[in-house]
Symmetry: none
Subunit: 422 residues, 2 copies
């Protein structure tokens, strides 16, 4: 079955409202194995909607139209659908009673018209979907193998009516289930990843595998279908294992959270590792200026682990808080292995935490001085071991700072992983 989704509403074409209905419907339809062929949005215009219906049925056998079922003259969806399938309309007393009752029960809402006969006009030979969340009934029209399903535009009404009537109606047409898992990777470029798992991407059928680039990370979606959960989950687990064998080093999370979640989950993975292993941490940030601390503190339950952070952006602060020597600053400058090491020892001595992390670097050019923008040192004290790593990063100020933060979090993640591997 192919479905086309048509949204009706000039307010969407003007960009005044964001069309969340189509992403909801697409996701729901994908979850029951139905292929969405196309989304179309048209204004409240009869000619345009009829044209879009015609275009839609060139490729699909079912069309879901949302919006344009209101009581006013520019609501034309029902009329178009009826005309398209050449149906007459009748006045449905039962629907009219339901609408009247709904309006009576919402006396405070003055937007509801009192004598609303238009919404009770129904095309003949159709299935009426009672609207318990508003006034406009939904309608299913069938003609030969073609179906038009009409749902109201307000998301609350649309979603509830889809769940209650349309999803069961469509499910009956298919008996397949779909499940997805998401793999999150850090430190690998999308094209490099694609190169490495090309053989998987090319011959995919069930499960299907898709890549999504997200800032400095990549996400892999693995979706399998079948008739029972155990089989589907097995298909997914095998495919994930196959991917893990190739790029396992870059994977930091495998879970159910999908592409809709645009946030990096690196900090929450690290926070969980700290909390679960009762590890304490302290930070001394120059170039990242509090970004590492803040991204850790974004996570609930971190208070026992996160002991202290210093934002030592100035040299004074490096000296006062971390005992960095003026002579070291003078001799090597603030962005040097030597200063990084003194910062690291300083924060470790001050806080005595299991892990200490420091950053120093140049995020942008300074006036009257030639500096090496992108030169960065990250230092980590992990239990009794010190590491200082040097980077030469490219990008604008914020990009560089974000990269240093993610790189620092990933270094911590790997050290804990190695330590608690057994």
């Amino acid at each position: 079955m192919n479905i086309e989704l048509i949204s009706v509403g000039t307010e969407i074409l003007l960009g005044d409202i964001l069309n969340t209905n189509v992403s909801f419907l697409s996701r729901e339809l994908a979850s029951i194995g139905i292929n969405v062929y196309r989304h179309t949005t048209v204004g409240d215009n009869k000619k345009r909607l009829l044209k879009s219906l015609e275009n839609a049925f060139e490729n699909s056998d079912t069309v879901i139209i949302t919006g344009g079922l209101g009581p006013t003259d520019d609501d034309i969806t029902k009329e178009c659908a009826g005309e398209f399938f050449k149906r007459d309309f009748f006045f449905d007393k039962y629907s009219f009673e339901k609408i009247k009752n709904y309006v009576d029960n919402c006396k405070n809402d003055n937007s509801l018209p009192k004598n609303n006969k238009k919404q009770a006009m129904i095309p003949e030979n159709s299935i009426i979907l009672e609207n318990l969340w508003g006034t406009a009934p939904g309608i299913i029209l069938e003609k030969e193998n073609k179906k038009i399903i009409l749902l109201p535009g307000p998301p609350k009404e649309m979603k509830n009516m889809f769940e209650k009537y349309v999803k069961p109606f469509l499910k009956k047409q298919s008996n397949k289930k779909f499940i997805s898992k998401y793999i999150r990777l850090y430190g690998i470029y999308e094209s490099t990843l694609e190169e490495k798992i090309k053989h998987i991407l090319i011959k995919q059928t069930n499960p299907t595998v898709a890549l999504y680039a997200k800032s400095t990370e990549v996400l892999i979606r693995v979706t399998a279908s079948g008739t029972n959960n155990v089989t589907i989950n097995n298909l997914i687990e095998n495919k994930i294992k196959e991917i893990k064998d190739i790029v396992g080093d870059y994977i930091y999370l495998i879970g159910d959270e999908g592409v809709a979640n645009t946030q990096s989950e690196l900090s929450s993975v690290v926070a969980k590792m700290l909390i679960n292993n009762s590890l304490t941490i302290s930070t001394a940030e120059s170039i990242t200026g509090g970004m590492i601390a803040s991204s850790l503190i974004d996570n609930e339950g971190i208070s026992k682990s996160f002991i202290e952070g210093i934002v030592c952006y100035s040299n004074e602060s490096k000296m006062n808080n971390l005992d960095v020597k003026l002579s070291t600053l003078d001799k090597y400058t603030a962005v040097s292995k030597e200063v990084a090491l003194e910062m690291l020892i300083g924060i470790k001595n001050k806080t005595k935490t299991d892990i200490s992390i420091i950053t120093t670097g140049y995020a942008s050019q300074m006036k009257n001085s030639e500096i090496n923008v992108g030169l960065v040192y990250i230092g980590i004290y992990y239990k009794d071991n010190k590491i200082i790593k040097k980077y030469e990063l490219k990008g604008n100020r914020n990009k560089i700072r974000e990269k240093v933060t993610k790189e620092a979090l990933n270094l911590i993640r790997k050290l804990i992983l190695d330590d608690y591997k057994e």
Copy 2:
């Protein structure tokens, strides 16, 4: 001119991502007087895209396609557009160099993935739009009176390239000029703002006025049209004055930066004020955990102003760094006016900066204790004056932390403004 917007991407059809590109483009096109006829979304499928292009040109003379310009095999937009207008492709060395440079700047290893050559293949006789925010160049193809404009799918790239190249290109097709100014407000809800300026919103013709809610801020777009800049700017200035008279207290920036810039500009406004007035600042953050420091350090030139930040998430850190007394913590708890005051005095004594700011509060529920989530204190030492403000905020953990950060920045902004008013 009629425009159809086509979005390409299976991930949109699967509902994995919300299509924000179309609402952005629709709004922007409306602001320059261009009629959007239809939105269409198709998967990464050549036949379907060609069909949609055919359908689109039945009603429109210009089609903007977003997405499907990536380096992988299922990115087929450019190939379809070329085929539709029967164009050959050539390998554009200049674009390839640009892509290579961009990739080099984003990665630490210099190996350009082989398939990125694909992004430098350009249809003959087209206008190339250089992508400064990613790898895929945009392209404008013209044939007789028809135009196809290709833009990359990632919203940041798409928005910036639309602003820089496409908007001016489309504006040239009309002899009317459109100019927009953007007013940024903090501390007022969209609905309250709408109520207050309802009379302006209702009778708008030229200029047009539109509101956009952006997280905890609101943006007002004022767009005027005409044939000469002086007249247009006068229309805008008068409308801005009218709005300022009503909600001037909430306005923190009036400028040319549009809806594309989704970042709050509060921190850059505050950073500029600090730098321009040679004011120094220090922070001691508990609930915000480095977010205030980090958002200030996001801004170039801040190194002379930002002296030091402490992320004192634990009680130990509050005592060790800020001389908060154990007895005060025991008696009043860490989230109290009394502890806030000791933190404030502590950071001021430690750093002697012109401005010191502290935060303490509960961002989420803790195990085994009944706390008042959303209770927050912000303290500011501005020169010789101390202020402690209490808040009861709503939202999830990250929302609360973000609100506190913006509120703190706005308090600093107002104090500097009052002080340097004359």
